[in-house]
Symmetry: C2
Subunit: 450 residues, 2 copies
Amino acid sequence: MPESLLNKRVDAIRRLARRGAIQALAKVVATTRAEDLAAAIGQLARNEQRLVFGQVRADTTAADLLVRIGDQDFLALTADLPVERLVRLFGEMEADDQTDLIELLPEDKREAVLARLHGEEREQMEELLGYPPDSAGGIMSPLAFRLREDITCRDAIAAVQEASDHELVYYVYVESESGQLVGVTSLRNLLTHPPSTRLSDIMTTDVIAVDAHTDQEEVARIAGRYDLLAVPVVDDQRRLLGIVTVDDVIDVIREEAAEDMLLMAGVGEEPSDSAAGNRLSNASRRLPWLLVTLLGGIVISEIIRQFSGVLAADLVLAGFIPMLTGMSGNVGIQSATLTVRNIALGRLDVGVGARLGGEAITGLLLGVVFSVLVGLYCMLRYGDVHTSLAVGIAITCNTTAAALMGMLVPLTLRRIGIDPAIATGPFVTTAMDGVGVTVYLGIAAALLSL
Amino acid sequence: MPESLLNKRVDAIRRLARRGAIQALAKVVATTRAEDLAAAIGQLARNEQRLVFGQVRADTTAADLLVRIGDQDFLALTADLPVERLVRLFGEMEADDQTDLIELLPEDKREAVLARLHGEEREQMEELLGYPPDSAGGIMSPLAFRLREDITCRDAIAAVQEASDHELVYYVYVESESGQLVGVTSLRNLLTHPPSTRLSDIMTTDVIAVDAHTDQEEVARIAGRYDLLAVPVVDDQRRLLGIVTVDDVIDVIREEAAEDMLLMAGVGEEPSDSAAGNRLSNASRRLPWLLVTLLGGIVISEIIRQFSGVLAADLVLAGFIPMLTGMSGNVGIQSATLTVRNIALGRLDVGVGARLGGEAITGLLLGVVFSVLVGLYCMLRYGDVHTSLAVGIAITCNTTAAALMGMLVPLTLRRIGIDPAIATGPFVTTAMDGVGVTVYLGIAAALLSL
């Protein structure tokens, strides 16, 4: 359903939920797809969510819905469910979704659900739980459709007709006798070759596969680069463990892009996607990174204090402090954003030195342009050579330093094993404020004492 | 090929290109996939790129490569190609890729290529060129696999076996006699039903489709929400025009996420992805948004000048200016980032008022916490009630205002039809610097005159 229609539906659902018009609500819910209900849930308050979820009758729909909503919403909606219902709902989910959700449950509930799941399902889930959640193993579905290489197209089609519970029968993975992934072909290929052809004769042997411990971001990059609908996951013996399907790849790309953006701004994790999100937790998530700004600000106030003689002698200098910090802060953020992007795209694995140099030159170019502009303004406005020179020189120094620091902070974070995006914003701007003010007032002091 | 292997290959290619070891280079190029060559191209200097591209012999590989590289790199590599070769290369591409690339060519070359393409291909391309490049029509492939609803599974399979040039035969779209899209089924469904079953009996009639003018971002959201491998595109008569395949959806998601991030930081468009990118153009792309900071900074310097009496009376006040602007700038960026995210996710289409209120409360909470901390520090350090009060009160006012402004700026930009992400960073930080300084010094002036 297009966005505009969906929004009308969400509005209708919310109005009915708010009015407590249960019967009408039940009717609307019954005619709405699980995917749309999930989108609606994200825009409702907690009690409205419960009311809507209560009207979902079919277990398949309820399961589909739970798989698609935010973690906090999932926990809230399942908090009061009897374990039997929860087990039934988990039974309707695919293995990779089961794994994602069961990890969210409180331990006693998790144990209770695991204990009641069918043997095979439990084994699968326990295997998947053994992989880090953001690795290929953690997001794969174990239900890859696989056939032996000596099978004919005729038998392969028969196998496709019998297979029922596989995520996606588009790629057909081909295994050797010893169970190694040796090839891949497509359902269509099975149809366009003579029925007696063996899979080994029509398969592509150059299969792109990833190790179970590969980071999900790399899996997504590989799927994107080779336009794959699914990426096979293998163990160190190259045995097929499962597949990461393209819908999960899309989720990863969305997640990682959002993560970088939110981390950079120092907002931390993506906040609860429902309107029911807690203000206090939203504030506390943002607080630590602002503390960086605060402590930095105190240090900077001490630095400025050291220069109070200079400021007292030329009060015009104080007026340009926000421009200088704003300028270097924004240049730093620009560089940091480009760097975080380039790291995410794997572009900074080679040739870092040249890029650092390039960034410094960009900063220098920007600095020179703005130095001239501001210096001229300052000269015309105040007719004071010292102040104009101090402002101008400081801007050139600061934008160059900011461009470099914007690149070095994320690179350094990555080098020491920290996500390069984390709070790059607050770190870079605060550090640049300190450097900027010191350079500016230092130059002014030197010029004044000349 | 995993990232680490790919990087080794890129390193090898670059070393050979730099040494001009043509024969060895040709060998490596011949054994590298087009996708990997494209990734390598992105990390090479312009002359190295030309050398590598020159070694690509097969037209299919060359076409695959051109489709996958950055726009600037495409233009550079095709600048010296004879029109005949260019036509051959375009002939190897899918219609949607052809359209994307032909739009990049200079007009005379574009006309020359269009004139030499086959009639059907040219018609298709001209049709696609009629849609905005970032609409469903602009990114769709016209080659959707479609069958009439009265056809049997047996005949449908025969049709699949004969179809050769369709993007993806996974979904089978079903049309009514009058050519309207009435259903969808899968290749697998054709196989699992008796051969004489008619498509109308096995198809899903509730087909999710988009209009050709739907924005690509919405197409991507729809594909993601319903886990579709392809989204059918229809005209206003609900006739099937083409499909947007999931690989294009992935490109859109990547593009849009990057766009938001880069726009917010005021970096403009994604810069050329090759190391060959021009420094001057990189600098000039970032310059206009910094001009906002510069002009804002001049205004702020005038504001501060109005308060020079207050500053002269209490020089400690000047020291806290960077902390105040840094604090409100970062809170503003946090709010703006969350807002841009929420707009992108379609979460701000309903309930904006409540979210604005929530954001203001978050800002207030943060402000109160930091006010107390900084006020106490200021009191202990300088023992001056006036300064401590001014700093404390200003922080609370400013973070609340910053939280609100961070939300209002992108919302207002969207309301007046501008991309809400555009330079939100520089706008919000500069505006907050101005507001923050005025509030701060205004409060200080009021307190001092008490």
